[in-house]
Amino acid sequence: MKQLSLEKLNDLFALIGQTEALYLPVDDAAGQAAYRRWQPGYTLSKALNTVRSAKDFFFPQTENLVDFKMQGKSIEVIDPRTEQENFVLFGVRACDARSFSILDKVFLADPVDTYYQSRREHGTIVTLACTRPEETCFCTVFGIDPAEPAGDVSCWIEENTLFMKANTPKGDALLTLAAPLLSEGGDDAVAAQQAATRSVLARLPLAKLSLDGMGGESMLKLFDSDKWAELSQACIGCGTCTFVCPTCQCYDIKDFNTGDGVRRFRCWDSCMYSDFTRMAHGNPRLTQRERFRQRFMHKLVYFPANNHGEYGCVGCGRCLSKCPVSMNIVKVAKALEGEVK
């Protein structure tokens, strides 16, 4: 365990920022936290979590895949990628840290998504333990311990000190880089904080959320449940839940005509949208009920069925606080609970 006085936090950021791009949560104009590239004067946000998740850094909302340049009747194909720079993501919470492993299962499975892979390889994740979880948090349901977050480096902030622990070679390298500023020690302080945090976690209203019966076994039963109609009734079909979700990974590929060519890019898509997976014959999911069902079946049933029981949710609670009509995965899970019992 290494430690650093918070007074020197800016020196640490400056040190890292010198060699790599450093991103950390700072407060935006509306007072919510968002990742920004560090520059002098930026301070780490005190918010529990960012509105947008950390997946942006590996799977950005829009990404240029290929360019076509047209000159008269000839077409030139251009790979727009430049060399990926190394970057450090500071202050990732345990839930988001888990989301990367879920995304990896999608993007690093064969055929490997090289755009994603390159970013994963060049990114170092520095997590930060939670101390004040909120009522919307339910990461513990998925076996995540926000007091002991994963990542290349785990951090804790207690009183006036930042404690850091490297978990991987990438983490070691980062701490080596920062070594001039760090000193040893802090195990006791961290353990004390963890104990305090865990006592709060036990009191969270959603700590006991049960996902029994979800997963592949009850797929058809859940698929055919008549609860979906009622659950999806209020859904307005926007993409808020999917876009703030750290694990949603669907995208669309679009062409943009630039006037002298075409820029082919991919962008996040939402299964809640009426034109999601629209094909030549139309949309396979005809109503919002089916689109709504798709999203939750995917996270709670299909994904675990294909991934050894791992759910496609990390319990970050973003959709709970951001859904315009206050519908969310917890309400769905609770409603479906009865169906499988």
Binding site: C238, V244, V325, S326
Partner: protein, 324 residues
């Protein structure tokens, strides 16, 4: 009020006067109330609520509900009635299939506003008189009611119901609000300051479409931004231009039709003050073409489908604002 509403709904369901009730349903926490349709007295008893978190505007749901067989009972707050009336004027709702009950409103807050005011770990919340008590994981906290209301309710334009079949409680008055203050403040800035302001706001947009999908004026069967044939379809703002484009065109499409219900800003996950764009149009319309409030008079010609021979010339824009 909640009891009265349940009793009324139960009575109308029982008599067969209505087949379903559109209202609000309690959630997991105090604040996550969701719009819901109730078809039986049991459902009403179980989860119908009307409290300080019933901010969502139900009128847009009537587009679908009123096309169902039978009648739908809907509870409408004063500001929701403007949307309802406007939707009727646009023939989007089958009036015969709706039984509208006007209900009073003292302003509605929501979880995001409470959190913005520093309440975290909210377990439950009550309001007595003018004091809000919030029980949180980290202890109980109180606040004055006015301090936890969102901007749209602090600048409420009207407590009067524009249209209803029946009214529960007293009808209120159209209010003198300060809703254009912020627009005015922006108008007084230099263009550079305004540009910086809006870039700061709009650059946060994640194009989740929540503003559009919740908006009672955005009821297109197919939005131009979802229609590849329109030539301006976008699924994400791949460039800052597209952020501007989306919000300008959206505001323009609802100009003269937006009732200023404020749902767009309420639902924006990034807290972008989108209502300011709509209010800018409303303010301009009021100043240039005479006071007009969408949803107030269903027979009034909306300002963009109307004209007078002596309308201001577009050049008037060069002479207005604080940027001479």
């Amino acid at each position: 009020m909640q009891e009265m509403m349940i009793a009324k709904a139960r009575e109308l369901l029982k008599s067969g006067a209505v087949q379903r009730v559109l209202g609000w349903k309690a959630g997991e926490f105090a604040y996550d109330v969701e719009p819901a349709v109730f078809e039986s007295a049991q459902e009403l008893e179980k989860s119908f609520v009307y409290n300080d978190f019933c901010g969502s505007n139900l009128s847009k749901y009537l587009i679908a509900q009123s096309r169902k067989e039978g009648k739908t009972l809907v509870f409408l707050k004063p500001c929701d009635t403007y949307s309802f009336s406007q939707l009727l004027a646009e023939h989007r709702i089958v009036r015969e299939n709706v039984y509208a009950i006007g209900i009073p409103c003292q302003g509605k807050t929501d979880g995001e506003t409470l959190k913005g005011k520093g309440f975290t770990g909210i377990l439950s919340a009550q309001c007595e008189g003018d004091t809000f008590t919030v029980h949180t994981l980290y202890g109980d906290k109180t606040a004055a009611r006015a301090d936890v209301l969102p901007e749209r309710c602090l600048n409420c334009k009207s407590k009067k119901h524009m249209i209803y079949d029946e009214l529960l409680g007293e009808d209120g008055e159209v209010l003198d609000s300060h809703r254009f203050d912020m627009v005015e403040k922006l108008e007084k800035m230099t263009p550079d300051e305004r540009f910086a302001f809006w870039r700061g706001e709009l650059s946060r947009c994640i194009r989740c479409n929540a503003c559009r999908n919740v908006c009672p004026a955005c009821t297109c069967e197919k939005c131009v931004f979802d229609n590849d044939a329109s030539g301006i379809a976008q699924k994400a703002a791949a460039d800052s231009f597209e952020e501007n484009m989306f919000h300008i065109i959206r505001a323009f499409h609802v100009a003269g039709r937006c009732t200023d219900c404020g749902e767009c800003s309420r639902v924006c996950p990034q807290n972008i003050p989108l209502h300011l764009l709509n209010r800018k149009f409303i303010k301009d319309i009021n100043e240039l073409y005479g006071a007009y409030q969408a949803g107030e008079d269903p027979d009034a010609k909306s300002p963009l489908t109307d004209y007078t021979m002596n309308d201001a010339e577009p050049g008037i824009v060069y002479h207005r604002g604080g940027n001479q």
